[in-house]
Amino acid sequence: MSPPAQRLAVGLRGVRKIFGDVVAVDGVDLDIRDGEFFAMLGPSGSGKTTVLRLIAGFESPTAGTIHLGGDEVSKRPPFERDVNTVFQDYALFPHMNVIANVEYGLKVKRVSKAQRRERAVEALRTVRLEGFEARKPGQLSGGQRQRVALARALVNRPKVLLLDEPLGALDQKLREEMQVELKAIQRQVGITFLFVTHDQEEALTMSDRVAVFNAGRIEQVGTPAEVYERPASAFVAGFVGTSNLIQGEAAESVLGRTGIYSVRPEKIRVDTHLNAEVPVGEHAAAGTVAEVVYAGAATRFVVDLDAGGRLIALQQNLQTSSMDVLKLRDARVRLAWRREHEFAIREDVPPGLVMDGPPTTVG
């Protein structure tokens, strides 16, 4: 998958981790390139945080190997690995002030006092926290603590920075700000960032590549566009974005093929002219609007197809207003999309994972 010439920051081979009788990580192979901003995305309990902890060295793998920058580190303790972690709840030392927290790693490495202070102050400047040196963690807001945690890790200039749901504890607004900022910081320092999240939007906006985790395994690795536009499995299609699957009889009558296919909601056009000619290169299906959800910038149409199954179409509210679109409930419509936007989905997934009902937001 990755070009062999490129240097690897992290390499996992056949990594398994078993806690008691729970298989948390079930055979993971993963290559992360130097300088990448890499996301591990998945629902809770999918094994992504365990993989992060295995790389950091807080857990040791039951089987398989972990390489960091070419060295095998599977058996090494955390203090002998050139990685640093930003913890989900920050894990700042409560009895030390901000500057002492940031200097901690340098002090352990016996960096001279003057240099230590200089680097710590610089790291605090990188995260825009100058002037907070003397505060205790208890006197900071959530966002500020998050920045201190980031500075404390970055100041050591590790090969890889591990971030465990770094924005999970922040409110929406701050979160969006920090997403942009983290990305900028990563570009500035050039360190490989490996972060864990359950938020698909966060993974898509921030990362160069995404690995989608499910039940201890990786379902797909790719760029955000690849994962979003061409999900490799029904699970990925459902977890990254809105699940929109055409399968069974519907696939045969609408597409003329068997199998499971995914079309993203924003690629589908809602047409009230049922008898207009279908343009070349498009597929079309007639149906009845079951639900109309007005969401400000766009409107979501839930359409029951005559051929069976249900599709969601997302339309920008360019000319329409809420009054217009709401009238379309129960109307007969035709859905149309370009053929290159439909993707076959691997069928070797357990049937339970195929979500063909509407997502809960419209249900």
Binding site: F58, F93, A153
Partner: protein, 299 residues
């Protein structure tokens, strides 16, 4: 049912009382606190004050009656007579030793309970630590007397190594007191370590700190106030003890014994009072010192 717009004060006597209490917060507060305050001021502080005043009285040598006239004599005797200085120092030494020994035993135990044991094991350990507190002090002290006896359990256990137990005396007293007060040290440290988030230790390791450094720079500073809180118990309980030393201490005397003998055999109540103010003074000094560590918030 009464109509909802009816004023509360116009109901039955209970309602009227409730309404009155509602309107008078000070009356409510004084009703709530009068009994405990009475106990605290009269029985507790009053007794301490009586003790302090009595320390400046004396007894008639011939009749043994208490002479209620102010004198510094008791305190002069305490400072000038070697025997009391020795007893005082010995008591403080015993209390310090007991505190240090309990701290050394309790910390690893509490750390295991708070950070490593499974929830099930943890529950059993807490029960195991609390159970001895339900047994009588005397039974436990006499159990140690039996174990420390000549050819007792400890002699028998040490025999194969060519050693024998300490016999009765100060070391035996320290051992017995350390055993008696150990739970009072374990429980505060356990509570303190439970509040220490696990990932602080992960974070220290992640930043390159080895185990000992993590302990020294992260675990110990966070747990220290809890250790001090435990030491207040072990130190003060040891300082005032006079029964254990009577049972296993051989001929050794501690402050408590001097107080006890002056109340009983010597019938010199004022002098007993003067001696009793000493541990109180030591504890006040100790508490002022530990107040600065923040330990009092951990009690």
């Amino acid at each position: 049912m009464k109509s909802p717009d009816r004023p509360a004060g116009h109901g039955g006597p209970v309602r009227r009382l409730a309404g009155m209490l509602h309107r008078r917060p000070y009356l409510r507060l004084s009703l709530l606190l009068s009994a405990p305050l009475l106990w605290l001021v009269v029985a507790y502080l009053g007794a301490l004050a009586a003790l302090f005043v009595a320390a400046f009285w004396s007894t008639n040598v011939f009749t043994g009656d208490v002479v209620k006239e102010f004198t510094w004599q008791n305190f002069q005797d305490l400072v000038t007579l070697d025997v009391y200085r020795t007893v005082m120092l010995r008591s403080v030494l015993v209390a310090v030793l007991v505190t240090v020994i309990d701290g050394l035993i309790a910390f690893p135990m509490a750390f295991y309970m708070a950070k490593m044991a499974s929830p099930r094991t943890r529950r059993w350990l807490v029960i195991a630590i609390l159970t001895p507190l339900w047994a009588s002090y005397l039974v436990k002290a006499y159990a140690w007397r039996v174990m420390l006896a000549n050819d007792g359990l400890i002699d028998w256990a040490l025999g194969p190594f060519g050693a024998h137990g300490p016999g009765y005396g100060l070391p035996a007293t320290v051992m017995t007191l350390s055993y008696l007060w150990l739970p009072y040290m374990i429980l505060p440290i356990y509570a303190g370590l439970e509040r220490l988030p696990d990932n602080l230790m992960d974070a220290a390791g992640d930043l390159g700190a080895r185990t000992f450094r993590t302990f020294r720079t992260v675990v110990w500073p966070v747990a220290f106030p809890a250790v001090v809180a435990g030491s207040i118990f072990t130190f003060s309980l040891s300082l005032g003890d006079y029964i254990a030393v009577k049972i296993v201490g051989g001929k050794s005397q501690m402050i408590g014994n001097v107080v006890y003998d002056n109340i009983g055999v010597a019938n010199n109540l004022p002098f007993a009072a003067a001696v009793a103010t000493l541990p109180v003074a030591v504890m006040v000094v100790y508490l002022v010192a530990v107040r600065r560590t923040g330990a009092l918030e951990n009690l």
